[in-house]
């Protein structure tokens, strides 16, 4: 089951995998995620579905090696299999279930930060395929960390993709927020809806700006998750003073209503403990993993 059909290193510590997962591929839509377990003893790790092929029954994931669990996933090779893949989880992006004529009336701005480029990709592709106007901003640290540039050009056209690097090593120089201001204020572009996916801090500042500009903005929240089915409450986020569970109520929420500060605080939860485990693993002290 869940065989890895393709594995590719996109940038340092960033991998793409195409995985056979018929149940997920059959019904997934942009905005949804899945949960994988590498081995029987592994954590359940949430990853966004970055592309899917219904005929081949495959889905694409893109992930960064952050801690022990993502590192273990990255060690799996083509032809090997995940122990579990479950999904699709979460709700599809809101436009998927809206009348398409309504959606077509809007001009979309998609803002991707770093690894967020991967989950933005299926959204860009879906919108374009359905005849919706869409511009994409990709922000990344430097040229080396840029991913899926060509794919994005192919999806929406090179004229509609604006790449910016924090260090100015490629294309535009500066944060995504600077590009948004440029496009809207200096180039006079009009957007009716923004979708922003990336590091929490980027989404926070992005929303601050789009609020000023009056562009309703959807963000995708990636809190800590365990089951992903609404059973544990680990993924709770505060949205408009209400407690929401990102796995069943989200992961996409109205960015104007999300309490980013409490969400960022909760992300720190396992930092120290996981750090220790990571060390133990790379030093080969971690028991019980029959990896051959």
């Amino acid at each position: 089951m869940f065989e890895i059909k393709k594995k590719e290193l996109l940038a340092e510590k960033t991998y793409l995998m195409v995985v056979k997962a018929p149940n997920v591929a059959r019904s997934c839509e942009p905005g949804q995620f899945l949960i994988v377990r590498a081995y029987e003893e592994s954590e359940r790790i949430a990853l966004t579905i970055c592309d899917y092929d219904r005929k081949e029954e495959t889905v694409t994931i893109v992930f960064q090696t952050i801690g022990e669990s993502s590192f273990k996933i990255s060690e799996l090779e083509e032809g090997e299999s995940f122990c579990d893949v479950v999904g699709p989880l979460g709700n599809p992006a809101e436009y998927v279930n809206e009348p398409i004529e309504e959606v077509k009336k809007r001009h979309y701005l998609l803002v991707a930060g770093g690894l967020g480029t991967a989950p933005v990709y299926p959204q860009a592709k879906w919108l374009k395929e359905h005849g919706v106007d869409v511009d994409v901003i990709i922000g990344t640290k430097s040229k080396d960390t840029l991913i899926m540039e060509q794919e994005m050009y192919d999806a929406v056209g090179e004229d509609h993709v604006f790449v910016t690097t924090d260090d100015g090593s490629y294309k535009r120089h500066g944060m995504v927020t600077a590009v948004i201001e440029d496009l809207v204020k200096n180039e006079g572009r009009k957007y009716d809806k923004c979708v922003s996916i990336g590091p929490m801090i980027m989404m926070k500042f992005c929303v601050k700006l789009t609020k000023e500009l009056g562009i309703p903005t959807i963000v995708s929240m990636n809190p800590i998750m365990v089951d992903g089915t609404g059973m544990c409450g680990a993924c709770r986020v505060i949205v408009g003073d209400e407690v929401k569970f990102a796995c069943v109520d989200g992961p996409e929420f109205d960015g104007f209503l999300v309490d980013f500060d409490s969400a960022m605080k909760r992300m720190k939860l396992y930092q120290t403990e996981e750090g220790r485990r990571m060390l133990a693993y790379t030093e080969g002290k971690c028991k019980g993993h029959d990896k051959g």
Binding site: R26, E43, E68, D84, V86, L89, D227, T229, M231, C232
Partner: protein, 466 residues
């Protein structure tokens, strides 16, 4: 040497010593051996009008199976139980016997009730050791039924339908079957391999297929199951897993868990074991909020992981909804109880980590809708308890995944699926529901009983369609 039986008292059951078990996840209660079971069986009066049977939600013929134990006919005892229950090894361990069968036992009017639960458990464990398991039916109907959720309710319904010859598939969202039995109730109360895995194997032995990693409402909807996959009927047994929070300040602090998260990490993901990757915060001082079985399980799990533990509950000892045995065990193990106390705020340090909890003393006022006296705050009685971990065990509701993706499936105010108590029928033709998703969080035996009734309801429904 024969055991001397005091007719007024239960034959004592061996348990791991509190000091010892507080540091391990092995089962606390070791159960009767054959000699002890036969001795306890002699205490049953074999009543003409056995109250105990009325107290059991699935009406097990209790005097019947106990009489078999007394004769030494354990296989016979197992068969008698099997007529009414399909999870005796589980129910014998986790039923709240003191409010059910044993609560009304006639022997219990003077002295202690017969240890019905322990005898049931003994019988089931005996059968397991003998390798006795139910047989697959010889005659198969070519009719497909889908069951959603592999908890006690789904497993029971699937097992019963398979015995009737139906082609049954269970769809389970998690990577492991068992529902609360695997993710909620801890190993030290309900061993996962020895008991739960075996019960699941028994269901599979009847020909039931179990598809894990399969979320109905996402991977596929109920309508798709019936229209595209050719299922004649669906039984929803998706439980009530969505945890509630208090909505008090500080609840988003680091170190505040729902009991379900804490227990899932510990049980399902086996975070307590070094060879498993899922992390868990141990904490030095843990406060558990709530007084049900879930609260006791969370408290005793935290204790075993190495924390000091205090349970904070807003009513008095008498109202604690947990099984009496669990409260007793928790106390023996050194868990503190702050009763008539309710949290008002969780305190965090400059890094957002929990550093304490502010609580207020309560007194019992007038009875509320549930008939229990309602706790009211005593003004000015607030104080702080130092802790670095808070576990909220306040109850759960059914999650919206299935109701939200199935048209015309009626739910009530509490988000429970409306289902007929006798047949499990819902507002949708061919769709049945039962267990916690219909009743709200309840008990294993009630979930199981609902599964049984629904199996009959589904059988009648399908026969009516033919």
């Amino acid at each position: 040497m024969a055991i001397e039986v005091d007719m007024m008292k239960k034959v004592p059951v061996s348990e791991q010593a509190p000091e010892e078990r507080a540091h391990n996840f092995e089962e606390v209660c070791l159960g009767y051996n054959e000699e002890e079971a036969r001795a306890e069986a002699t205490r049953c009066l074999n009543c003409k009008n056995p109250k105990c049977v009325e107290g059991c939600p699935v009406s097990i013929n209790i005097p019947g199976f106990i009489a078999k134990i007394k004769e030494g006919d354990m296989a016979g005892a197992y068969d008698v139980i099997g007529e009414a229950s399909s999870l005796p090894a589980v129910c014998g361990r986790v039923c709240p016997q003191e409010t059910q069968c044993e609560g009304v036992c006639i022997r219990g009017i003077k002295g202690e009730a017969v240890s019905i639960g322990k005898l049931e458990r003994f019988t089931a464990d005996w059968a397991a050791e003998q390798g006795i398991s139910p047989k697959a039916p010889s005659e198969k109907k070519n009719i497909k039924v889908a069951v959603i959720g592999a908890g006690p309710s789904g497993l029971t319904c699937a097992g019963d339908l398979a015995k009737m010859g139906y082609d049954v598939t269970i769809y389970e969202a998690l990577h492991k079957a068992g529902g609360v039995l695997v993710y909620g109730i801890p190993e030290f109360r309900l061993p996962k391999e020895k008991v739960v895995a075996r019960e699941i194997e028994n269901v599979k032995a009847l020909g039931v297929k179990i598809k894990t990693d399969y979320v109905i409402g996402r991977s596929e909807t109920i309508d798709e199951l019936m229209e595209d996959e050719g299922y004649s009927a669906v039984y929803i047994a998706s439980g009530a897993g969505l945890p509630m929070f208090m909505h008090i300040p500080g609840e988003q602090a680091l170190g505040v868990y729902s009991a379900n998260e804490y227990l899932t990490r510990a049980n399902l993901m086996k975070a307590y074991r070094d060879d498993h990757d899922t992390p868990i915060n141990v904490g030095r001082k843990t406060v558990v909020v709530g007084g049900g079985n879930v609260a006791m399980d969370a408290a005793r799990t935290a204790l075993r992981l190495g924390s000091e533990v205090t349970v904070v509950y807003r009513r008095s000892e008498k109202e604690l909804p947990a099984r009496a045995e669990e409260v007793h065990h928790a106390k023996e193990e050194g868990i503190r109880f702050e009763l008539l106390t309710n949290p008002v705020e969780i305190l965090e340090d400059e890094n957002g980590l929990v550093k304490g909890i502010r609580v207020i003393k309560m007194e019992l006022g007038e009875p509320d809708a549930s008939g229990r006296r309602r706790p009211v705050e005593i003004e000015g009685s607030e104080y702080e308890i130092e802790c670095d971990l808070v576990i909220m065990a306040l109850g759960t509701t059914p999650n919206p995944l299935i109701a939200g993706t199935t048209d015309n499936l009626e739910t009530n105010k509490k988000k429970c699926i409306v289902a007929d108590e006798e047949t499990g029928a819902t507002s949708r033709n061919g769709v049945f529901a039962g267990g916690d998703c219909a009743t709200g969080a309840a008990t294993v035996i009630l979930a199981m009983g609902a599964g049984r009734k629904a199996a009959k309801g589904i059988d009648n429904y399908i026969k009516g369609q033919l």
